[in-house]
């Protein structure tokens, strides 16, 4: 059971801040993503090579998904959601590399993502319809429902974080437990399933954020019609 880390392990401390293995892995992933994006976009051309083709396909998939859900102004939310999809997808895959810990199997990471998603809902809501117009949707249809609106905001944020955390941690735990009770190759099919689950959960996280943002933006036009 030594390899089963439910909690992150502290590698070193900077004052009161503990630098855990999760944070180091996240830095590594960020460096890899930035390096890949930097080096693959050096020689852009109208007739794309294979690397540029792959990046364009990823970008177009992100753009199409956002345009389907948010036809008004997809370019406003695209940087945030694209970053979410890419970093969460890469983080979910990182646990497959030996020696790396899945960063999203740590509740701190997923809560950080969820808080960013929660903040972005309000930021985009206020940016599109102003502070007053945004706050007015809290008293619809009546004032009595105000506490329920606030409870819904909190619970959906917690649910977003716990969903990603639980899925990733369960995948890791299944692999470790099977390795303990059976041989070397038995966890392989479960790891294959874990890849699919990781990609789907990254997609789900972004899509739910997109739905929440769309819900925050669209309150006013619906009211006017």
């Amino acid at each position: 059971m030594k390899t089963l880390h439910v909690f992150p392990e502290t590698i070193f401390s900077v004052g009161p801040v503990r630098i855990t293995d999760t944070i180091v892995t996240t830095w590594f992933i960020m460096v890899v993503i930035i390096a890949v994006c930097y080096f693959l976009t050096r020689k852009l051309s109208v007739k794309p090579g294979i690397c540029q083709e792959i990046l364009e396909a990823i970008f177009e998939a992100i753009e199409k998904t956002i345009k389907d859900a948010l036809p008004l102004n997809p370019w406003m939310v695209l940087p945030v959601l694209g970053t979410f999809w890419i970093i969460i997808g890469a983080s979910n895959m990182a646990g497959l590399i030996p020696g790396l810990k899945t960063p999203t199997a740590d509740l701190n990471t997923t809560f950080a993502f969820a808080v960013i998603s929660y903040s972005m809902t309000h930021v985009f809501g206020i940016a599109t319809q102003g502070l007053k117009g945004y706050l007015i949707h809290y008293k619809e249809p009546t004032w009595i429902l105000l506490p329920f609106h606030i409870i819904a905001e909190v619970t959906r944020t917690v649910a977003l974080a716990v969903r990603l955390f639980g899925n990733m941690l369960s995948g890791d735990m299944v692999a470790v437990i099977l390795l303990g009770i059976a041989g070397l190759l038995v966890p392989v099919p479960f790891s294959l399933l874990h890849i699919v689950i990781g990609l789907i959960q990254a997609y789900i996280f972004g899509v739910l954020t997109l739905v929440f943002i769309a819900g925050g933006i669209r309150t006013k036009p619906e009211k006017e019609t």
Partner: protein
């Protein structure tokens, strides 16, 4: 049997029951959702993209309920606050 042993054994049994009950409901719900989705895809194959997208999001939402049970079971097993309270 001292108090610590009782707390530990009850925690283990509770974690098992939580996973069993928490897995049952979402499993049935996932089955229902998939059945209806396949049903509607076979009726309208041209709407398969939209149905699949809604199915994935809905399935993840349903599945998160099972995940909550799993997280509760993990807290009970690995981060039980009562054991720390007793052994203090």
């Amino acid at each position: 049997m001292n108090t610590l042993a009782i707390v530990i054994s009850v925690s283990i049994i509770t974690a098992g029951i939580a996973m069993a009950v928490g897995g049952y409901g979402p499993a049935r719900a996932l089955g229902n959702a998939l059945e209806k989705a396949l049903d509607s895809i076979s009726r309208q194959p041209e709407a398969a993209d939209k149905i699949m997208r809604a199915l994935f999001v809905g399935m993840a939402l349903i599945e998160s309920i099972a995940i909550y049970a799993f997280v509760i079971a993990l807290i009970v097993l690995f981060a039980n606050p009562l054991i720390g309270y007793l052994t203090k």
